[in-house]
Symmetry: C2
Subunit: 373 residues, 2 copies
């Protein structure tokens, strides 16, 4: 029998920020460089077709090459290239933060092109877009759409939830700390062993360490957590419908009333200490109950609730004791995993681990596309 | 466009013990009953082809039907049936505890038949058999072999390790409590809050609750943990080769010297208290260091070691605080997940959760086989 050599699957990678670069680096390393045929890379302005006419693409030379030889980004021609490739169907990797590209995912899938993305927009926005995507993917169509890294980065959160649901388990509750930034802030602010550090100080340290967005309010609004909860909820048949996606999730903002009128990031950061009283009251209350404070996302199927909020947890709870640094922790309580839940914990953000979520999705599609009789 | 209806994949299920029955029940429930075409079920003596000439197979009627209408088990004809089915390739589920069937896995895979199994024997025994299987499966051949439930039952342990390795992460250490039985015994015996319960008493309670094998020495030998470590090690390219599989893993037995001459299960159980001094010494030593005792499997890539042993863990370590009941907990320390590891925790044994591992493997193969252009 001749040796089996799975055909290289054509891939186009759009978006070369931190995650995109890390994906590129993983795809250019053996053994993956033999399994995937990277036919195009692009950032938000320019794209370049591969292989290069002379020379090799490496994780360190792509940027000057793109700048010098790239042509203006044109999504339609990228899609035509993927769809008409001799080894089609291929995979479109959307590693941008774009709102626009997700809106054409149904069209892309309709062309028979598989999609892998760390972009949360498509699956956490309007239900209509989500349903459009679902109708064009497995098991409703032969095309695949994977976004493992949209929740928990490289942690196997979505795949585990899918496995639970598809094998007939009944989800009772999903509860977790889904934001690395908010994990860090509350692990430092509300410790099992106590302490009286000010909230404003912890936020400033988190910002200086690069753990927060440039405007920390983007993290403190809870929106990112609401998007992740939306993505998870939609995998649970008995969860509320969330017609407007993350906007339908009741989400507690951590920008206190007294600071809500700060008009600029600079003003907000300057006045940050004005919110300290608000947070210290919450921490003191929890302490009196023998608890710590964490910002959590909760999908409670019995109560029919999806919400993002500050929660109080006993000092011997996993969210109090097990959580360190900027780790995510997610617990699934189900008919089978009850009363003790299935728990997954680890770094839930960062370029390398997010890229791992993307690349493992790519490998799954490769395996699916190449194991054909 | 006509609606896409993925073809039902033909499946034969051999082995109808606790796990096999739970797999059968999951496969007979919607939506999976539409995705799989169960063409044969068998226990160790008899098999019956499906669909039934009159009537429907249900999780409650299969046993009398098999007894009354079954024909003697004949693996060769089952394989012919699978390989020649109009919708081939199909899937062979080995839910037996057999040593023999795994020895013909390479032959089965060579026929183009995919295999899913909770049977640890194939991948934890001789390296030659393992390599034979590897050479006949993806990415070396188009056929698939999955055994997610062989480690941690329904917990996503193997798939996570595969994702880490295949996306280019470097594994530094894998450490965990891999046996539900030994988890229960040591969680009860060596508590963070202390206590002076006798080891023999805990073993007896575990046996009465049905947590141990009929002969508790089968759990206390550590062999089951050594098999799981072998399976994990073989997914890590830099791990020791373990030519004889689990037999090559240094494994601390928990049957103390003083009891090693017990010739029968009955004698062993009767004399169990003779070992109490041995274990209480170990617990006391740990306590003096502020630690608890756990039976763990460790793959330490830096030290080049794979071993099963009693380990001592500080009272604030996850293995001391997070572990309850008969949960498994597995931590992966890698280049990316370092210094804080990726941790997965939950029930790692039981028919339903083990069947979940089997069924989710089946779904992955279904997705692979039916997403063809």
């Amino acid at each position: 029998m001749a040796a089996f050599v799975p055909r290289p699957v054509p891939v186009a990678l759009i978006g070369l920020g931190g995650v995109g670069k890390a994906v590129l680096s993983q795809l250019l390393s053996p053994p993956l460089n033999a399994r995937f045929n990277l036919i195009l890379i692009a950032n938000s302005r320019q794209s370049i077709s591969l292989p290069l006419p002379n020379g090799t693409l490496t994780p360190s030379n792509y940027l000057p090459i793109l700048e010098q030889h790239g042509t203006p980004l044109d999504i339609s021609s990228i899609l035509s290239l993927l769809a008409s490739h001799a080894d089609a169907p291929g995979i479109f990797i959307d590693s941008t933060g774009s709102d626009i590209i997700p809106s054409i995912y149904p069209q892309i899938l309709g062309m028979g092109i598989n999609i892998v993305t760390p972009n949360k927009k498509a699956t956490s926005s309007a239900l209509s877009l989500y349903q459009d995507i679902q109708s064009k993917t497995y098991p409703n169509a032969p095309t695949l759409f994977y976004g493992e890294s949209t929740v928990g980065a490289g942690l196997p959160i979505l795949s585990t939830l899918k496995d639970l649901v598809e094998t007939g388990d009944e989800i009772e509750k999903i509860e977790g700390v889904f934001s690395g930034t908010l994990s860090y802030i509350f692990n430092e602010y509300s410790r099992v062993e106590g302490g009286d550090v000010k909230f404003s100080e912890v936020v400033k340290i988190a910002k200086d360490k690069g753990y927060t967005e440039p405007d920390p309010r983007d993290d403190l609004s809870g929106t990112d957590v609401a998007r992740k909860l939306t993505i998870l909820s939609r995998l649970v048949p008995t969860a509320p419908a969330l017609p407007e996606g993350y906007a339908s999730v009741p989400t507690q903002s951590l920008v206190p009333d007294v600071l809500s009128n700060a008009s600029t990031k600079e003003e907000y950061l300057e006045r940050l200490a004005e919110g300290d009283e608000y947070f210290s009251k919450i921490r003191d209350e929890a302490k009196q109950e023998g608890k710590v404070v964490r910002y959590v996302g909760v999908i409670d199927l019995k109560a029919g609730k999806v919400e993002c909020k500050l929660g109080k947890y006993p000092t011997d709870h996993a969210f109090a004791t097990a959580l360190k640094g900027s780790d995510n922790i997610i617990s699934f309580t189900t008919k089978r995993y009850s009363p003790r839940p299935l728990i997954i914990q680890g770094a839930g953000a960062g370029a390398d681990v997010t890229a791992m979520g993307v690349t493992s999705d790519l490998i799954k599609i490769h395996e699916r596309l190449t194991t054909r009789p």
